[in-house]
Structures are given as structure tokens and as C-alpha cells.
């Protein structure tokens, strides 16, 4: 396919450029080290940071995405240090201390890992959080192979330095950020959220963009106060946010996810399924009484006298088991699980799949896949070019002049960047187009996915002939628009970029 081909071509040229640069700067240790690091980063998995306000459910979502409880979670504020989760051959946690001004950071030191009930926790060994640059957790996991996930402390935290650490990591004032893309979690859109998203938007070369940010309406099950239709109404709210002009400028899309449900769905154990099945056997009125409040669910003893079978809830599930169940599922999760079992979903695997499906995690994963994984090379190239640009600006030297020219050429020439820029411009409303045209242009530019069928708005299973026809039609339509003497310059430029995308599409289709 031409686009992926083009992507790797872009990768090759960027990689070559970085190589050249590191040779030119071989005598400057700082710059050399910096460039080497970014060259290495180019081949690493995509780095996706998970950010948001305190208690937005960042660690829970991370666990759900990985499918294991590797990030510690708690009712209180929990994550205080930026933590990287990456694929590795064996579990290992490294603590990277922070260097002082003028002092080189000490060597990373390994931490011991504790595991309790499948949940991971690590002991910082008495090091103050503000003395720590980051933790890296190596964990053998299929889900981490393609992306490194980065958990960040919440913004708007009461401890100002925790917030500051997050800001420093995601939107440092002087360097390109260490993350290639960001998933931003919010419970409701708050002015603080907007400010943060705005500051994350870097200035720099690629002048991007909403393209590497996805917003997630997290803890979606709580929005409807735990009612069974809570997720429906969360999805409705997410779609309202999606059409909000202000948010469109700041992020690609908004997805509603019930993090806890997703996490538990992916890690559900047999004992938990048994417990849910026992609950499903209770009379409906008893069940309603039990689910009235979290406290009641744990402590009450319904069924002792009223149930016909004579089994008391206490004999089947003692309150400790129920407390554990509540901890893992939440009130909404228990309600949903029991209802699903009642409806005949008696297979644990099917139930867990259904819970994950309902939680909205699948939607999120699909969006992540389309927006981030398919654009991996592009996002990586962008990060690398940002890094190079920083070096060229900080330490200008005559021998680096050709590098600057080359950088400029790639930035201006690579069609992928042109698409990215145009997408941002369209989303921010800088280019004025009729709404229908704008949506079509965004789609053709890869706003909804880079695959040919996604760009043409066709079914993924569409045959080559159909794709070809649609591509030709779009091509001629946008070409007419590009050449129309009545079109303004902005529109004509847009149309020209779209035409290029269509041509790329056509070239990539099998004959």
C-alpha cells in the first residue's frame, strides 16, 4: 500500500537525517547523546502517555489496556511519579533518579516488586517522589509490544509538585515531549482540562496538532449514577463533546470508557464468575435491595428469611467476598454482570468479552489503532524531527546548515506532514469549507484511519474495483475544486493536498 510504503520511506529519510546530524555533532557530547537517544527511540514502540486530572482513572485504564493489573490503583490519589510500562523479557522495575542542577543523575536502581491478589505494587525505598525522574516497568505482555504506555500523575492535584511533574513531562517548556501521543482522560470537561490540552499543543516544527491526542470520557459508568443504561448516556455525552468546536481543535475524538469495568472484564477470575452466578440466583427484589448502596451490598443479609430456597446470602457469599467483588466491579459492574448472567450468558469467557465490549474499551482500542498505531512511523518521525530542530536551534553551526535545509525539505515535502497539517487546519477551522466538504476532506486525508477503505468511507471488505471507482470519483471531484478559478486560495490549497492523497490512494490500489 502506498501510504505505508510512503511512511517507511519517510522513516528512512528521517533516520538518515538523524544519522548525519549525530555525525556533525559528534564533538558536542550533549547534542550527540540527545540525537543518539532519539535515533534509538525511532525504533522503539510508540510512546502513548495517559494523562488527566487527579482520580480520572488513568492507572485503571492502563490496566484495562494491558489486560493485567500492573499499575497500582487506590481510592486516594495514587500515582505520584511518571511511570513507563514497556514490554520486556522478564518483570523488572527500574527507578531513575533525577539529577540536580549541574549534577548528573545517579544510576538507575532496581526496585523489588510485590504482588498481592494479582495487583502489582512497588516500594520506592524511601526516595522522595520529587527526587525521581521516572520509573520504568518492564513487563512481558503482548499488549505492550507495539506501544509503551506511560502513566502520569494527575493534574489539578492538591500537592502542587505532583501536578507540576505531570506538566513537566507532557508539556515541557523547552523540549519536545517524551510522549509521541496522548490519551487524555476527563470525567467532565472542565476549564482546567482545556487549559492543559492547550498547553500540550506544541509550537515547534510540525506545528501539530490535535492529531496525536485522544480524549476519553472516563469512569463512564458513574456518569449515570450506576444505572444500567449509564453507558448509553455516557456515549451520548461523548458524542456531544465530539462535536464541540473547542474540543475538535484540541483532540481527534472523544470516546466514553468505563475503565474499571474494562479492567475487570479483561482480568475476570473464575471465582468472581461463580460469585456473580450465585447473586444471579437471588430473587429480583432481594437483588434490588442488595444493590441499593455499596454499603448494603457488602453488609446486608437479605435472603435469610425471605428466600424460598432457604439459602441465606451470607452462607453463599460472606461479606468479604462481596467487598472484593465490589472493589473489582463497582456497583454498576455487579449490576451489569448479574443482569447479563440472568439473560443467559453463562459462559465466563463470553461474559468477560461482553463486559469489555460494553465498557467501551473496544471502541477505544480501535480508535487507538487507527489514530496511533497506523500512524506510528509518522508520529515517530515527527518526534525525531522536533528533537533535531531543537538541536539545530540551540547549537547552530555552519556545518549543520545542510541539515537544516534537509529538515526543511522533509517537513515541507513529505506528503504525510502536509496531510497532518491540513487535518489540524481543517479541525481548527483555519480553512473554511462547507461542513460536508470538510468532513469528506478530513476522511480522505486519513482522519478516520489510513486504510484505503477508511479514507474512501467504504466498507473494510470492499473490493478493489469498488475502491478504485470511489477513489477516481473523489479525485476528479477535488481536482475540479482545485482548479476552479472561483475557489479561494485556502480552498484551492486544501483541494490540492486532497488530490495528492487521492492519487496516492489510486497508486496503492492493486491493478
Amino acid at each position: 500500500m502506498s501510504l505505508t510504503f510512503g511512511g517507511s520511506q519517510l522513516g528512512t529519510s528521517v533516520r538518515g537525517l538523524l544519522h548525519n546530524a549525530s555525525q556533525v555533532y559528534a564533538d558536542s557530547p550533549g547534542a550527540h547523546e540527545w540525537l543518539r537517544m532519539h535515533l534509538a527511540r525511532f525504533d522503539e514502540p510508540l510512546r502513548v502517555a495517559i494523562a488527566g486530572k487527579v482520580k480520572a482513572g488513568k492507572s485503571t485504564l492502563l490496566n484495562a489496556l494491558v489486560g493485567e493489573e500492573i499499575a497500582p490503583t487506590d481510592a486516594g490519589e495514587c500515582t505520584r511519579v511518571v511511570t513507563w510500562y514497556q514490554d520486556g523479557p522478564a518483570p523488572k522495575v527500574l527507578l531513575h533518579p533525577r539529577g540536580g542542577p549541574g549534577v548528573a543523575p545517579a544510576r538507575p536502581r532496581q526496585l523489588s516488586i510485590h504482588r498481592r491478589d494479582g495487583a502489582l505494587s512497588f516500594d520506592l525505598g524511601g526516595t522522595e517522589p520529587d527526587r525521581i525522574d521516572r520509573l520504568t516497568v518492564d513487563w512481558p505482555s503482548q499488549s505492550l509490544r507495539g506501544t509503551t504506555l506511560i502513566d502520569t500523575p494527575g493534574i489539578d492535584s492538591l500537592s502542587a509538585d505532583v501536578s507540576a511533574r505531570s506538566h513537566q513531562f507532557l508539556a515541557p517548556s523547552d523540549e519536545p515531549t517524551a510522549a509521541d501521543a496522548v490519551v487524555y482522560l476527563m470525567r467532565h470537561l472542565h476549564s482546567g482540562d482545556v487549559r492543559f490540552l492547550e498547553s500540550f499543543h506544541d509550537r515547534g516544527v510540525a506545528r501539530a496538532t490535535a492529531v496525536n491526542t485522544i480524549a476519553v470520557l472516563s469512569r463512564a459508568d458513574e456518569i449515570g449514577v450506576g444505572r444500567l443504561d449509564a453507558l448509553m448516556s455516557a456515549k451520548k455525552i461523548a458524542s456531544r463533546y465530539r462535536s464541540d468546536d473547542k474540543l475538535r481543535e484540541l483532540c481527534q475524538t472523544v470516546v466514553a470508557v468505563a475503565g474499571l469495568l474494562a479492567q475487570t472484564g479483561r482480568t475476570m477470575r473464575q471465582t468472581e464468575f461463580t460469585a456473580l452466578s450465585e447473586l444471579a440466583k437471588l430473587a429480583r427484589s432481594d437483588m434490588d435491595g442488595l444493590l441499593l448502596s455499596a454499603d448494603r451490598f457488602v453488609t446486608s443479609d437479605i435472603g435469610a428469611e425471605s428466600s424460598a430456597s432457604g439459602t441465606s446470602i451470607r452462607t453463599v457469599l460472606d461479606s468479604q467476598v462481596r467487598a472484593g467483588l465490589l472493589d473489582r466491579f463497582g456497583l454498576f459492574g455487579v449490576r451489569l454482570g448479574v443482569t447479563l448472567i440472568r439473560q443467559g450468558l453463562t459462559d465466563p469467557t463470553k461474559l468477560s468479552a461482553e463486559l469489555v465490549r460494553r465498557s467501551g474499551l473496544d471502541d477505544l482500542r480501535e480508535v487507538l489503532n487507527i489514530q496511533f498505531t497506523e500512524r506510528r512511523d509518522l508520529l515517530k518521525a515527527r518526534s525525531a524531527l522536533l528533537a533535531l530542530d531543537l538541536v539545530l536551534r540551540r547549537e547552530p553551526r555552519p556545518s549543520a546548515q545542510p541539515l537544516a535545509v534537509q529538515l526543511e525539505r522533509i517537513m515541507a515535502g513529505a506528503h504525510e506532514f502536509a496531510e497532518l497539517r491540513l487535518l489540524t487546519a481543517l479541525r481548527s477551522g483555519a480553512v473554511k469549507l462547507a461542513k460536508v466538504d470538510r468532513l469528506e476532506a478530513e476522511r480522505l486525508l486519513g482522519g478516520e484511519g489510513g486504510a484505503a477503505s477508511a479514507r474512501l468511507g467504504l466498507d473494510p471488505m470492499a473490493g478493489p474495483a469498488e475502491l478504485r471507482g470511489a477513489a477516481l470519483e473523489s479525485l476528479s471531484k477535488w481536482r475540479r475544486r482545485a482548479e476552479s478559478p472561483l475557489a479561494g486560495r485556502g480552498v484551492a490549497d486544501t483541494a490540492r493536498v486532497v488530490v495528492r492523497s487521492c492519487e496516492g490512494l489510486l497508486a496503492g490500489l492493486p491493478r
Binding site: 482520580k55 492535584s157 502542587a160 467532565h188 448502596s293 448494603r296
Partner: protein, 627 residues
């Protein structure tokens, strides 16, 4: 309980009024009449505030057991809703407005059917308060409200800098108590604590409510953490964990069997509302009641003191004629002091006038200073970009900054005004006065804090036609100029050189025009921002000045009356003491008996006043009043 306490206070004031009428002291009577009228309005306002989606409306609904405030999964409330007692359910929409000159117009009140309330107060029916209403008033017959409790449901704050935040702040000084609502999903975040800190400076009676305890198994941890944050930040406030769902569910249960009753009771207990309602009754209503009774007791004791002063001096002069001279000298000295206080040039008058003038200029300077900083920042960002693209963002930023600055300025003004009142009262220290008048901040309920929107400057469209026209105009000049010059060389007017020059000139004119347009847009945007800030300074400055003038007037009237009363009482005391000295032995004996009886009667009144507030408080008050 609250009502009976109030009734006793009213009775006492009536009794004292009879006494002042009998002793012919109209100055004291008018003071007591004012006290009586204050007692007649028992309403106690409780503001329910918090971030959005925390369950504020549901809390109000659960308190009154009726769905008066609309609840939704998405942002619901867009308009403050005042819920108070009424014999029959009613809904009134209130629109407060100002005429162009800034004078408040009488509020427009419209009654609407009860089922239409949601259309007006919800975000869905009235997005961004498009109907320009000030607040909605709901009357509902409920026992909990009968004691004068008024609940005010406010839109979610969304940070201190937002419009709603500023409006809520503006309503705070008139509230008797505040409930800060947040849900049990998480401990307090920084914006919430910032808001709490600001709120506490405006309204001392703040309690924290943590809602939705039914949904979160870990709510006990959250309550503990939040309490910890409050203590650590030096804001010890009571925390009430509640569950509106449980209470509403319990109230819906219709099972009259023993089990059903027990379940209902258990649910009620678990909902946590018992404690919250207890707080509203005792901590809010009770405290307001206490304050009422305290001030009534103080007023009546002061009146007793004034009435007794004359008689007591006459009595002691008639009992010990030898010491009468010393007594009269003492009284005359005291009268001299009171005279001084009465003068226009009295020291307290100077303190008050100077203080008020200083205060007004300080506050105005502070406001101007804050606004200037915003204006400078805004101009800088206008210069950096083209207002055509950045205007929307800029407008939001400016409005936020402006309302934040105005709020901070307002809070500071109120604090300084309270401090000034204390300063003036210091001059009266030792003369048995420790009471401060009730200071009235702000005129409207929710109108202060609502600022005008920033107007977008009109932007001329510079289309193809105009571009063409400008280009032609410039091009024509170039063409003719070069054409004539080349004409000398024997070429025709239209030759390649002159056409090229025409195109060049035309292009340059268009670019120049575009540049000029951008500059004009920048200048327009700056003017718009400056005008907006000017407007705000004018509006907020006027509001603050009005408020301060009101405060100054209240203080002046209060203390002038006080000085007058002291003067009258002391003059009478001197006169009656002198009369007693002049009278002969037998008359003196009879007069002393009369006086003792009169004094006894007044003492009975004072005893009643003291009984109203309990012994401990009375001792505190009495120490000042009857010294």
C-alpha cells in the same frame, strides 16, 4: 423550636417597646421597632455550591423530597433556583436588570406552571441562560422549610475563573450558610479547595457535603482524605457524607409493616441525611436564631441600661445627698464624652470618613491595576496574531481573567469594609457598645458578578471584488506612469514594460491593503478589549462604590443613633440627680421608693432578656451593657 424561640424574642421586644413608650423615649422606641421588623423576616439562605455533576440539584431534591431541580446525566442546571416555603407549590421566574445608566430596575417576576420549571432552569431548555433570567423561585409546602430555611441550588462552578463561579461568589455574602457539594468519587482537588478558601472569607458558615456514598464503596476513605485536606489547609469544616438516592428511595417506600418501617428507618440512617438536616436545623437555622436572640437580648439590655441610668443616678443622689455633688460631676463628665461622640467632628466620624475614602480609593486602584495587567497581556497577544483567527480564544480568556479579577477585588473590598466597621466600633469601646450593625453587601441576589459580554469588533469582508478593485486602482497608476515614460521612447502606452509595472503595482497595493486590514483588525480588537475592560471597571467600580457608600451610611447612622441615645440618657441622669438634690427630705423618701419600684420593673425586663439567651451568654453581654 426555632419558631417558639423567635416568638419569645418578639414578645420581649413588644414589652420593651411598651416600657420605652411609657418613659417617653422615642429614640429608643424607633430602635426597638427596627429590631422587631428584622425579626419578622425569618428567612435563612443556604447556598448549595460545587463543581458540576456532583449532585447539587439531587441534594436539594432529596432535602425537600420533591423533584424541584432538574437532574440529568449531562450538565443540567443553568440557573440558580431558590427553594423556599409556600402554602401551595408555585414557580416564579425573576429577571433583574439594569437600565442603560446602570440604575437597577425593579425585578420582573413571572409565574409559570410548575411542570415547566425544567424548561427554564436546565441547560437543555435554557442553554447558557439564553432567556436572560436572574433566578427561579420555587415555593413548596415542606416542614423542613417552614422554619425560614431557603435553599439555593446553583449551576456548577467549573473553576473560579468561570462566569458561573463569579456569579456564585457574588451571591455568597448574602448567604447565611454554604454547603459545598462534591461526590465521593475522589478527594478534594485544587480548584475545589481554592473555591472553598474564597467562600469562607465571604461567608463564615461553610459545611462540606460528600454525595453519592451509595455508589462508591470507598467513600469512607474519601471522607477521611478530604477531611485531612481541610485540616491541613487550616479550614476545619464539618463534613457530611450523604446519599440522595437512598433517602429518595426510603421516602418512596410505602410498606407499613414492621419490617417495612424498619427498612425505611435503616435506609434513612444510612443516607446520612439525618445528620445533615440536623446541621441545617441547629448549625444554620439554630445559629441564625441564636444570633437573632443574641442581638435582641443585647438591644433590650441596652435599652434597660439607658432607661435605668437616669433613675439610678436620681436614686443615689436622693439617698446620699452628700455625695450628690461628686455624682453629678461624674455624670457631667460622662455627658461631655457623649457630647463629643455626638459632634460631627467626633473622632469616630473622622475614622469612618477617612477610612471609607481610603477604602474606596484603594479598592478602585486595585481593580484598575488588575484590569490594566489583563489589558496589557491581551494587547500583547493581539499583536502576536491575527484577531481574525484568535478572537474566540482571546475573548474567552479575557472574560475569564476579568471575572476572576473582579471576584478577588470584591472579596477584598468586603474584608476591608468589615475591618473598618471594627475600627470605628473601637472608639465606642468602654461605653457599653460592642454591637455592629448588619452590613449589607451587594444589591441584587445574583446580579452582582454578572458582567457584560465582550463584543466582537465588526470585521469587514475583504472579498475578491474588493481585491480586484484595489489591484486595478494600483495597477492603473503603475501602467500609466511607466507607459508615459516609455511613451517618450516611442513605445505605445500599452507595452510589455508598462503592463508588467501595472501588475507589479497592483499586486503591491493589494498586499499593502491586506497588511493594513490586519493592522486595522488588531487595532479594532484592542479597542474592543479596552472598551470591555473600561465597561467592567465602570460597572464593577460602581457596584463596589455603591456597596461601600451603603456600608458607610449604615455605620454612620448606627453610631450616630448610639451617640444620641447615650447623650439623652446621660442628660436625663444629670437633670434628675440635680432635681433630687434640690428636693426636700420627705419628697426625697417618697421619690426613692418610686424609683426603686421603677428600677425593679426595668430589672425584670433585663432578666427576661437575659433568659432569652441563657446565662453564660447573658453574662458576656451583661458585662458590657450594665457596667
Amino acid at each position: 423550636m426555632a419558631v417558639s424561640g423567635n416568638q419569645a424574642a418578639v414578645d420581649l421586644v413588644e414589652l420593651a417597646l411598651k416600657a420605652t413608650d411609657a418613659y417617653d423615649r422615642p429614640d429608643l422606641s424607633s430602635k426597638l421597632r427596627f429590631t422587631r421588623s428584622r425579626l419578622a423576616d425569618p428567612s435563612v439562605r443556604v447556598l448549595v455550591v460545587g463543581e458540576f455533576k456532583q449532585g447539587k440539584s439531587q441534594l436539594v431534591n432529596a432535602l425537600v423530597n420533591a423533584s424541584v431541580c432538574p437532574v440529568d446525566d449531562d450538565i443540567a442546571t443553568s440557573l440558580p433556583t431558590v427553594v423556599k416555603h409556600a402554602e401551595s407549590p408555585s414557580v416564579t421566574l425573576v429577571r433583574e436588570s439594569e437600565s442603560d445608566s446602570g440604575e437597577p430596575r425593579p425585578a420582573e417576576r413571572t409565574a409559570v406552571p410548575i411542570d415547566q420549571l425544567a424548561q427554564y432552569v436546565s441547560e437543555a431548555g435554557n442553554p447558557g441562560n439564553r432567556r436572560q433570567l436572574t433566578y427561579a423561585e420555587v415555593g413548596i409546602p415542606r416542614k423542613i422549610l417552614a422554619g425560614g430555611l431557603v435553599l439555593v441550588d446553583t449551576p456548577g462552578v467549573g473553576g473560579l475563573g468561570s462566569m458561573h463561579g463569579a456569579a456564585t461568589m457574588g451571591a455568597l455574602p448574602r448567604a447565611d450558610a454554604v454547603l459545598l457539594v462534591s461526590d465521593a468519587a475522589q478527594e478534594y482537588s485544587k480548584p475545589e479547595l481554592d473555591f472553598l478558601q474564597a467562600a469562607r472569607r465571604l461567608c463564615p458558615n461553610v459545611a462540606c457535603v460528600i454525595t453519592k456514598t451509595d455508589l462508591y464503596p470507598q467513600w469512607r476513605r474519601i471522607v477521611e482524605l478530604s477531611t485531612g485536606h481541610l485540616t491541613r489547609n487550616g479550614m476545619p469544616a464539618e463534613v457530611f457524607p450523604v446519599s440522595s438516592t437512598l433517602r429518595l428511595h426510603a421516602l418512596k417506600l410505602k410498606d407499613d409493616s414492621v419490617d417495612g418501617k424498619a427498612l425505611q428507618q435503616a435506609l434513612m440512617d444510612e443516607s446520612g441525611y439525618v445528620r445533615l438536616i440536623g446541621h441545617l436545623q441547629r448549625g444554620v437555622l439554630g445559629r441564625a436564631d441564636d444570633l437573632d436572640r443574641r442581638s435582641v437580648c443585647q438591644d433590650v439590655l441596652a435599652v434597660c441600661d439607658q432607661l435605668a441610668a437616669g433613675m439610678r443616678s436620681e436614686l443615689s443622689a436622693s439617698e446620699n445627698p452628700d455625695e450628690a455633688a461628686a455624682l453629678i460631676a461624674d455624670l457631667t463628665r460622662a455627658k461631655g464624652v457623649a457630647d463629643e461622640l455626638r459632634q460631627r467632628s467626633a473622632r469616630w466620624q473622622v475614622t469612618l470618613n477617612d477610612g471609607a475614602a481610603d477604602l474606596t480609593s484603594d479598592i478602585e486602584h486595585d481593580l484598575r491595576d488588575r484590569m490594566r495587567a489583563i489589558s496589557r497581556e491581551a494587547e500583547k497577544s493581539i499583536d502576536e496574531g491575527d484577531p481574525k483567527d484568535t478572537w474566540d480564544q482571546l475573548a474567552v480568556w479575557v472574560e475569564q481573567q476579568v471575572s476572576e479579577a473582579a471576584t478577588a477585588n470584591f472579596v477584598w473590598a468586603i474584608e476591608r469594609a468589615r475591618w473598618l466597621a471594627g475600627q470605628v466600633a473601637d472608639h465606642f469601646n468602654g461605653s457599653g457598645v460592642e454591637s455592629l450593625p448588619e452590613l449589607n453587601f451587594g444589591q441584587g441576589d445574583f446580579s452582582s458578578g454578572q458582567l457584560r459580554d465582550l463584543e466582537q469588533p465588526v470585521q469587514e469582508a475583504y472579498g475578491i471584488g474588493q481585491k480586484l478593485f484595489t489591484g486595478l486602482r494600483g495597477g492603473y497608476g503603475g501602467l500609466v506612469m511607466v507607459g508615459l515614460a516609455t511613451g517618450l521612447a516611442g513605445m505605445s502606452l500599452l507595452n510589455p514594460l508598462s503592463v508588467g509595472a501595472g501588475l507589479l503595482f497592483g499586486g503591491k497595493t493589494v498586499t499593502d491593503e491586506l497588511k493594513r486590514n490586519k493592522q486595522r483588525r488588531q487595532a479594532d480588537a484592542k479597542v474592543a478589549v479596552r472598551r470591555h475592560i473600561d465597561d467592567v471597571i465602570f460597572q464593577v467600580g460602581k457596584d463596589t462604590r455603591d456597596m461601600l457608600r451603603q456600608v458607610q451610611r449604615t455605620l454612620r447612622d448606627h453610631f450616630t443613633t448610639l451617640a444620641e441615645e447615650m447623650h439623652t440618657s446621660l442628660s436625663e441622669a444629670v437633670a434628675s440627680a440635680q432635681k433630687a438634690v434640690r428636693a426636700d427630705e420627705s419628697t426625697r423618701g417618697g421619690r426613692a421608693r418610686d424609683l426603686r419600684a421603677e428600677l425593679d420593673r426595668i430589672e425584670t425586663l433585663a432578666v427576661k432578656a437575659r433568659a432569652l439567651v441563657g446565662d453564660r451568654v447573658a453574662a458576656e453581654l451583661g458585662a458590657g451593657a450594665l457596667s
